[in-house]
Amino acid sequence: MGHAVAFYVFGILAVALALATILHKNIFKSATFMAGMLFCLAALFITLDAEFLAVVQVLVYIGAITMLIVFAIMLTTRINDETRQKFNSQLWISSLATLGFLSLIISVVLRGGWGGVVTESGSLPPDMLGAIGTALLSDFILAFDVVSILLLVALIGALHIAKQDDRKLYVQESFVDDESSAVKNHVKETEEMHV
């Protein structure tokens, strides 16, 4: 009973914070709300007896990914700009896509078939962690490896891009002043074009 109440409270809170994330004008606060939303998700996992998932949620999504986003936002200027545009012109297309995705998720959930980890009696195995580890390294080893390689590719790609930017910046700094102001003007113009 207590679990159910907590589940719905955190569920509603998570939805509210998710809405706040996309609707708030200030991008730093959006990131803050996102961290709160992810924390509510972790709480949801706890109410579902998925301790490991909850902790990994906090460790990876809140402790690392959202933190990286916050880090990137702190380095950008114009974050306090209230006139910053929040939505683009693709509102209808994106809502259609979102609704399609939602119906896909609902159909998958309704189909059920959550076999595998859950034992015959419908309860979770006592050694949840061991079960997850064994499943990852036996039945799902291919998916596990593919994801690892994907992450490695992303890592190398990020390094490559970062290194390229480094060189460009170096070139820009070595230009004389009027040259760099021309670059700044160009940046400003392109920004205005996007707005």
Binding site: E51, F52, I62, A64, L68, V70, M74
Partner: protein, 337 residues
Amino acid sequence: MEIFYPYIFMGILLVTWLTSVPVMVLVERKVSGWLQYRVGPTRVGPWGLLQPIADALKFLSKEDVVPHHVNKWLYIFAPALMVFPAFFVIGVIPVGILTLGGKEILVQIGHTNIGILYVLAVSSLVVYSITFSAWASNNKYSLLGGLRSAAQMMSYELPMGLSILGTIMLVGSLRLEDIVNFQMNSAWGIVWQPLGALIFIVTAFAETNRLPFDLAEAEAELVGGYHTEYSSMKFAMFFLGEYCNMLTASVMITLLFLGGWNVPFVQGMNLEPLTQQVIQIAGLALKVVFLMFFFVWVRWTLPRFRYDQLMNFGWKTLIPLALANVVITAIVMAIVS
């Protein structure tokens, strides 16, 4: 009666953690005095013993300034967020076993299968407090401190997680009590995992933002770093959080690598179970006190890292070493078994 134990333990542990803060403030000032051939605080009470109380009174009675240029909500929220993980983390830390009413009871608030992961996850939330305070202060020194700290804590979380992997592989469990039991039955973790222990202790300094890793505040360069704009009790909250995290880090080092509540030779002395267990808890406390002293000792011994040194050390030294430790542990385990 048994259902009340978690609440009793919760009270005792919370009070322990909270009282450790004023004590540590005094110890830090006294020890730093000795290390620098000074006397430290002497004016308030005999031997300066009442200094923490004077400090607390000062913090409470000072004007609480909220500068007009700050982002008010986050500015107020950030110090609270510092204290929240510091107390949240106590929930899974075991400090000993007591025989009460003929039953052996683990002194721990909540029992969980994922003890270490929980501690790592919750203590990683501290960085939010620092970045929020940094950004909300709307001050360049605060922002620089916050940026540094965010990068530092994210970089050092990785080697910290990897350094305990060897211990987890040896024990085969994420429960802190299992890890202590393993050390009781064999040798302390520092014997099994010397490299892991070293890396964990170094990263613990970085995660608690203590010197030589206190680049987030670096008073010589950044005025006060992320808490430059804070005053009175809000400023004190950051201190409270820092010392609580230090205590948690010390307890974790003890549990993982210094045998937890294991006191050598006590098990062979044929004492009554309860006496033995109380001695063991006192042993844990003694180890923790030594580590806290070690934290202060290091602070006044080593100079601060430069920022690039810090990043290079974290990514190019600690992470490869921690990975090597995992691989070596795995190979040795495979050969032995």
